[in-house]
């Protein structure tokens, strides 16, 4: 009897502990979600504020007590932003530089990665180590001389200067080489035996297999062009050549007028939109590329 009671007590105890644990679990779960929601809210807030502000009239924006959502939606801000910042021109310039440099960069990267992954030549390892070593040096160190060099070439204020200096990315070569190395060597040797030329093999076999990496590189490179600011600002700051970020920053600080914040926010929204679209559709590639690179753009 006593023994029996004991077991019952024990069972009860276990039960109460487990309900306690359940409570605690739920409590923690709620806490976790609350924390995540709060952080998500903070992360999203600037985007919300950008859109909300971009739709307000200037007088509504300047209200002492701000409205959370515009009372009257002013879409005209977007049209005005487009003309004030001359966004059409900036889009075209950026797209041109982005596309040309991405294409050239892909060709160079693929060829180099192929050479490092599949071909044997003297000094291959030393050369590869040398390339990796350059990755440790901050890009700002190159800027000074590159500034002088492109000046010497007479490239100041041309599109060339926005395309050529940064075509080769050691990191992308490294990334793609790793990817190529995973493709079994037998495929290559078999192709050799069949008398298939290198380039054809590269095109038919390796590129399709490494496609995800190539897409990642393409997106990151395009995003790089879209976000580049410092170098263009130094070497190609003429209106006809301006890239989107430079134009955006300058057209709202150079202006003689006081800042029209809603229009400015509209311009920011327009500039941010393509990045979001790319992100929505190609999230997987961006995330996988990014997690390996640790660099922005």
């Amino acid at each position: 009897m006593a023994k029996n009671e004991n077991t019952v007590m024990h069972e009860r105890n276990i039960q109460s502990i487990s309900t306690k644990q359940n409570y605690a679990k739920t409590f923690v779960k709620i806490g976790v979600y609350a924390f995540l929601m709060l952080m998500a809210l903070i992360v999203l807030f600037p985007f919300y504020w950008m859109i909300s502000s971009s739709l307000k009239s200037l007088s509504e924006y300047k209200l002492n007590v701000p409205t959370l959502w515009p009372k009257t939606i002013v879409l005209r801000n977007y049209a005005e932003a487009f003309t004030t910042a001359n966004l059409g021109r900036l889009f075209a310039n950026t797209a041109y530089v982005g596309i040309v440099s991405t294409l050239l960069s892909l060709v160079i990267t693929v060829l180099s990665a192929f050479a490092f992954a599949r071909l044997e030549f003297k000094g291959k390892n030393a050369m590869f180590a040398a390339l990796l070593a350059t990755m440790m040096i901050p890009g700002e160190l190159f800027t000074i001389t590159n500034y002088a060099t492109i000046n010497e070439f007479g490239w100041m204020n041309t599109f060339k200067v926005l395309i050529f200096p940064f075509l080769v990315s050691v990191f992308y070569i490294y990334l793609l080489r790793q990817n190529f190395m995973q493709i079994p060597n037998e495929l290559y040797l078999a192709a050799k035996v069949d008398g298939c030329p290198d380039l054809k093999y590269l095109w038919k076999v390796m590129i399709p297999l490494a496609l995800p990496t190539l897409i990642s590189i393409t997106i990151l490179k395009m995003m790089g062009a879209w976000n580049s600011y410092v170098w263009p600002n130094l070497v190609a700051n003429k209106k006809e050549l301006q890239m989107i970020t430079n134009g955006l920053r300058n057209s709202f600080t150079d202006a003689a007028g006081s800042v029209n914040y809603p229009v400015q926010m509209a311009a920011v929204a327009i500039v941010s939109a393509p990045l979001f679209l790319v992100f929505v559709f190609l999230r997987k590639y961006i995330m996988s590329g990014v997690s390996r690179s640790g660099i922005k753009g």
Binding site: S112, L119, E140, A148, L167, S272, V290
Partner: protein, 314 residues
């Protein structure tokens, strides 16, 4: 496999990369070192026939300049503040994300959003959020037309409007805004990497902990953090490297003046300092500053690697 045809071909494939690297990477390295050791090297003076003495005068000058010291201080301060804060926050978010199922994908996407933005453009949004429209910096004669959404939100908690970035704003206020923005910007990458790391941790460790009914906190400090340490080391190192090159986030918020009205240059960084010297053709000083930056990054990376060698649990 090594035949002469391949040798030739390999170099052919590599040639575009090699040519570009020689011109835009290798030569700059050599030239930067050369210019850094030529006293007062200036692009204009060299046309005028000036000769420069060889020595370390540029380094001495740069290190003695108050403007450079100021830049160095700002850079270090931002690094020291933002890297730990963003890493810790990212770690908490990643662990939280990893512990839930419902909404995980959606939240993960939201947390990644800041990554796909333009740091100048969104900097302008942050500036607008902190900006007071009006006339600031007077003695009780300030005119506030609208205090900015951040001040409005703080106002709900009874906090008087703070002059964050306008004329007369305090240094700590400027730095606070920069820290908020830089952390916001740095979170996505760190969350992505840490979450990736968490998801690859073997579930058995946690099962074992469950059996022993180890408290959550101990699980976190004794299992999660050690197992995640390579990833943490990685985000810390990249965080420091990025932090020492901080520039465009400040341009985003304060514009190229690198400071609030009345104090331009107050928030300048090492990279900003280098860029300022370029249009004046002061290549010698700029090169010295760039080498110092490289030195700092190199040392910090090495220290980090040493520390992680001892601490990181592979």
């Amino acid at each position: 496999m090594v035949d002469s045809k391949h040798q030739w071909k390999a170099w052919l494939y590599l040639s575009p990369a090699i040519v570009l690297l020689l011109v835009f990477t290798v030569w700059p390295i050599i030239n930067t070192v050369r210019m850094a050791f030529m006293d007062g090297y200036n692009g204009l003076a060299i046309i005028g026939g000036a000769e420069f003495e060889f020595g370390i005068a540029n380094f001495q000058r740069v290190l003695g300049l108050s403007s450079f010291k100021n830049s160095l201080y700002n850079t270090m301060l931002l690094c020291v503040l933002t890297v730990p804060i963003s890493t810790l926050l990212a770690l908490l978010i990643a662990v939280a994300l990893n512990s839930i199922k419902w909404l995980q994908k959606g939240l993960q996407t939201i947390f990644f959003l800041p990554y796909v933005t333009n740091s100048i453009a969104i900097g302008m949004v942050f500036a607008a959020m902190f900006n007071i429209v009006g006339n600031m910096g007077t003695d009780g004669n300030d005119i506030i037309i609208t205090a900015g959404i951040i001040n409005n939100i703080l106002g709900v908690f009874g906090i008087e409007p703070i002059n964050w970035i306008n004329a007369g704003s305090a240094y700590w206020a400027n730095i606070t805004v920069m820290v908020v923005y830089i952390v916001w910007n740095a979170l996505p990458f760190k969350i992505l990497v840490l979450l990736g790391g968490l998801q690859s941790i073997n579930k058995q460790y946690y099962e074992a902990a469950k059996v022993d009914s180890t408290p959550r906190w101990r699980v976190f400090t004794r299992i999660t953090v050690p197992l995640l340490s390579p990833m943490i080391a990685y985000v810390v190192i990249t965080g420091f490297i990025g932090g020492f090159k901080e520039y465009s986030s400040i341009v985003g918020i304060f514009g190229e003046d690198m400071g609030p009205a009345g104090a331009p240059g107050r928030l300048n960084t090492i990279v900003g300092y280098i860029y300022d010297a370029l249009p004046k053709m002061n290549y010698g000083v700029a090169s010295a500053a760039a080498l110092i930056l490289f030195g700092i990054i190199f040392v910090v990376t090495m220290i980090n690697m040493q520390v992680s060698k001892k601490r990181v649990h592979y």
